[in-house]
C-alpha cells in the first residue's frame, strides 16, 4: 500500500500535548519549527486541533489530573497515528517517580511508538526520532 503509507510519511502533522511538564521540553519542541531546524522541510506541521493530528507528542510527567485528558486526546486522534513521548519525564517519570501526584510513564496509559529521552532532548534528537518512527509505518 505505497499510496497509503507514502503520504503518511511525507506529511506528519503533530499535536503537542503537555501533561504537567516544566516547559523545558515544550520550548525545545517549538525550537524544531524555527529557521535553524525547520521541520516543515519534512512536511511536519504543528496543528491546533487533535482531530487533524497524525502524531501525538506528549511531554511531562503525567500528573493524576491529566490522565483522563490524555486518554480523551488519544481517542480523538484519527488512526493511524503515532504517539511520541518527549523527555525523560514522559519516558520514565524520572525524578518524580515517587511523587504522590504522578501516575507513571505515558506508556502506562496509552501505547507509545517512540521514546525520546533527555532533559530536554535536543531538537536534532526529536527530528531523528520522528524520522525513525515514520520509517516503521
Amino acid at each position: 500500500m505505497a499510496l497509503k503509507t507514502w503520504p503518511l510519511k511525507k506529511s506528519p502533522w503533530i499535536f503537542h500535548l503537555s501533561t504537567g511538564s516544566c516547559n523545558n521540553c515544550d520550548i525545545e519542541l517549538l525550537d524544531c519549527l524555527t529557521p535553524r531546524f525547520d521541520v516543515e522541510r519534512f512536511g511536519i506541521l504543528l496543528i491546533g486541533s487533535v482531530r487533524h493530528a497524525d502524531a501525538l507528542v506528549v511531554t511531562g510527567a503525567l500528573t493524576r489530573q491529566c490522565v483522563p485528558r490524555v486518554k480523551e486526546c488519544y481517542d480523538q486522534m484519527p488512526k493511524p497515528g503515532l504517539v511520541i513521548a518527549v523527555g525523560q519525564c514522559a519516558c520514565t517519570s524520572c525524578i518524580f517517580r515517587d511523587s504522590y501526584n504522578i501516575v507513571g510513564p505515558i506508556d502506562k496509559i496509552i501505547p507509545v511508538n517512540v521514546y525520546i529521552p533527555g532533559c530536554p532532548p535536543k531538537p536534532e534528537a526529536m527530528i531523528s526520532a520522528i524520522v525513525k518512527a515514520l520509517g516503521t509505518l
Partner: protein, 311 residues
C-alpha cells in the same frame, strides 16, 4: 450525447476539477514556500500539498457524537462543487466568449459565495464551541467583504454597460483593459483586498485563527472531509485570481506570447496575495469589518462614481 459529454468533460477534467485542483495545489505550495523563504526557512518540497491531501484521504473519518452527520459531511462537498463550477464557467467563457449567457457574471458571483457558506454550515454543524465561534466570525467576514466586492465588480458592469462576461472581454479587447481607466484601478485594488478576505488569508484569517480558536470551523473535521476543505481552499487560490484577471485585466489568452502574459498575470496576483499575507498581522473581527465597510467601501464607491461619470 455531445450535450452530456462536453459539459462533463469541462466540469471534471479540463477547466474544472482535475485541472483546477492540480494548479491550485501547486499555487498553495508556492504560497507555503514563499512564506517559508520570507521567514528565512527552507520550506516544504513541491509535492507537499498533494501529500497532505492524500494522507487525509487515507485517514479515519470521525463523526463526533453531537453533530448532524448529514450537514457535517455534505458541507465540504458543497464548497468543492461551488469552486469547481466557478473555475469551469470562467475558463469556458474565456476560451469561447461567444458562449456567454445572460447573467453569467451574477451566477459566478453567487457561486463564489458557496465555499464560505460551506465553511459556515460545517462549522455550525460540528457542535463545537470553537467551530460555532469560527462560523460566526466567517459569517461576519462574508457580510464585511461582499459589499465592497460587489460594488467593485459592478463598477466594471457600469463601465462596459453589459452584465455578460463575453461583452466584458470584448470591451477590454477593443477599448483596452479595465486597468487603463481610473475607475478600473480603484475597483481592482478593492477587489484584491476583498479576495484576500475571501481566501481567509492573513490579515483576514480571523475565522480559523490557529492560535486562538484552533482552526475554528475545521476543528472537528478529520480525514476525507478535511481533505476536501483543504482542496477547496487550494482551488480558490487559483479560481479567484483567474476571475479577477477576467473581469479587470483583459482575460486569458493562449496564442503565442499571450500564453506567457497570462501566466505572468496570474503569478503577479498570487505574489501580491502571498506578500500581503506575510507582511501583516491578523485583525480582530471588529477591526476587519470597520476596515471593509469603511475605507474599502469608500474607495469602491469612489470608483463607481468615476465609472458613472465616464472615466
Amino acid at each position: 450525447m455531445e450535450k452530456v459529454i462536453y459539459p462533463l468533460f469541462y466540469f471534471l477534467i479540463f477547466p474544472g476539477f482535475l485541472f483546477t485542483g492540480i494548479v491550485g495545489l501547486l499555487a498553495s505550495w508556492v504560497d507555503r514556500k514563499v512564506t517559508a523563504r520570507v521567514q528565512w526557512r527552507v520550506g516544504p518540497p513541491w509535492y507537499q500539498p498533494l501529500a497532505d491531501i492524500l494522507k487525509l484521504l487515507g485517514k479515519e473519518t470521525i463523526v463526533p457524537a453531537g453533530p448532524r452527520a448529514t450537514f457535517f459531511l455534505l458541507a465540504p462537498v458543497l464548497g468543492l462543487v461551488g469552486v469547481t463550477l466557478v473555475s469551469t464557467v470562467v475558463w469556458v467563457l474565456n476560451l469561447n466568449p461567444g458562449s456567454s449567457f445572460v447573467g453569467d457574471l451574477v451566477v459566478v458571483l453567487y457561486l463564489l459565495a458557496l465555499p464560505p457558506l460551506a465553511v459556515i454550515i460545517g462549522g455550525a454543524a460540528s457542535k463545537n464551541p470553537l467551530g460555532a465561534l469560527g462560523a460566526a466570525r466567517e459569517m461576519k467576514l462574508v457580510l464585511g467583504y461582499e459589499l465592497p466586492f460587489l460594488i467593485a465588480v459592478f463598477t466594471v458592469v457600469v463601465k462596459v454597460g453589459s452584465i455578460l462576461f463575453g461583452d466584458i472581454l470584448n470591451f477590454q479587447e477593443f477599448n483596452g483593459i479595465m486597468l487603463r481607466h481610473p475607475s478600473g484601478i480603484l475597483a481592482f485594488v478593492v477587489a484584491i483586498v476583498c479576495s484576500q478576505a475571501k481566501l481567509t488569508l492573513i490579515p483576514f484569517d480571523i475565522p480559523e485563527a490557529e492560535q486562538e480558536i484552533m482552526s475554528g470551523p475545521y476543528v472537528e473535521y478529520s480525514g476525507a472531509p478535511l481533505a476536501i476543505f483543504k482542496l477547496t481552499r487550494a482551488m480558490m487560490l487559483f479560481a479567484l485570481p483567474v476571475f479577477l484577471i477576467t473581469v479587470f485585466w483583459g482575460g486569458l489568452h493562449f496564442s503565442g506570447w499571450n500564453l506567457l502574459w497570462t501566466i505572468l498575470k496570474y503569478v503577479a496576483l498570487l505574489v501580491v496575495i502571498v506578500v500581503v499575507r506575510n507582511t501583516n498581522p491578523r485583525l480582530r473581527i471588529d477591526q476587519a469589518i470597520r476596515f471593509l465597510w469603511g475605507p474599502v467601501t469608500a474607495v469602491a464607491i469612489l470608483g463607481m462614481i468615476l465609472a458613472v461619470v465616464g472615466l
